[in-house]
Symmetry: C2
Subunit: 222 residues, 2 copies
């Protein structure tokens, strides 16, 4: 059975894909570029992960929603704004939040799922140990699932699968290890291209996860 | 107060915009092209309607989601498939349905609303006399509103306004007439560019609406 899997090139979506494959599904991979600084590096990671899982080309879709960048409102896409150093326990929504990004991603994934006849969409969101983004919360995911079921012609029973949502980063590392997820091919840094910066929000979360899982992150850092 | 209004260039969104202006809101217009055959004609209509309502340029956003066309699945965007003649009372979902189009539109409008600080999104969907598209139903609109409230940082009380949803086409023509909506600037045909075909689903609905309202449609037909 086909499943649409959103794959950014980062470690969370890589483990999510490994989970879908582990359950015996035939994955169709959607990669979204939205004008973020590191989009060419993330695209390379996406290609490498897709190759690793031997996903055929018709089941790979790269879409550009750089109009989200044109709207402004995020340090990830706004060239004038610096990406700030991470503060993992700071309250509120960080400036790296792209307004309703996951809502846009899930809407597109729903269109593709309907065309393909897929009955599930897989998304690597993390609620507990996440960055405080509102579009990573379970209650949002359930509401969007309802909207997709009601707003499509053939997806009455569509499920949005978020196998990582209750895990922390260390749990994701451990689960990825069990499934043989290719962490060495993934990319998470908001700043770097060749070596990860090690200090942005995304790097801090990733490094802490590997450390707590008692593993060494295989990608290069500055 | 700002409001994001989705304006296709057709008559329904034009009346919806007239309604938002009538309520004293400051409209920000989003026009979406998605690879449909008549997108350049619709863009001209959008520009004319925006000019009519004196909407400043920073409050006009044209976005391209032609990746929906790349996915296939609709005669509106699939160049190999002919647009069929309309059959107004045929059951089921017509082939002109673009999978989850309104879901994608509302997700983008939500991102922009959050950036602008708008607290409503206006969409000219019609349920009763519509074309049977699942993403025009009121229950879908309410589910998407909930997803937008939960999945954004500052839109807890966002409302999706659909002032036409309970009207039939004749009611829309009458309401537009009351509000002074510029019907002569709008375009609805799925086929034509200079003159409307008069036989596609969209033309049939439009012509029947004007006829039942006892008015003459001001645009040229073949």
């Amino acid at each position: 059975m086909k499943a649409v899997v959103l794959v950014s090139g980062g470690m969370d979506s890589c483990v999510t894909l490994a989970e879908a494959v582990h359950r015996g599904l035939e994955p169709a991979l959607m990669h979204v570029r939205y004008g973020q600084r590191t989009q060419s590096r993330e695209r390379r990671a996406f290609d490498a992960v897709a190759d690793h899982f031997k996903v055929p080309l018709p089941h790979r879709l790269v879409v550009d929603i750089s109009h989200l960048a044109a709207m402004g409102g995020s340090s990830l896409t706004d060239a004038q704004e610096e990406v700030e150093d991470g503060h993992l326990d700071a309250p509120g929504v960080p400036r790296t939040y792209v307004p309703f990004r996951n809502g846009n991603l899930l809407a597109m994934a729903g269109s593709w799922a309907e065309v393909l006849g897929a009955q599930s969409i897989w998304l690597g969101v993390v609620e507990e140990d996440g960055s405080g983004y509102p579009d990573c919360r379970g209650e949002f995911i359930r509401a969007m699932e309802m909207a997709l079921r009601l707003g499509t012609a053939a997806l009455d029973t569509l499920e949005i699968q978020t196998p990582l949502i209750r895990l922390d980063k260390a749990g994701i590392v451990r689960r990825g290890q069990e499934l043989g997820a290719p962490f060495h091919l993934t990319w998470s840094c908001y700043r770097g291209e060749d070596r990860a910066c090690g200090t942005c929000d995304s790097c801090l979360l990733r490094l802490r996860g590997f450390q707590r899982a008692g593993m060494v992150d295989p990608i290069p850092y500055r």
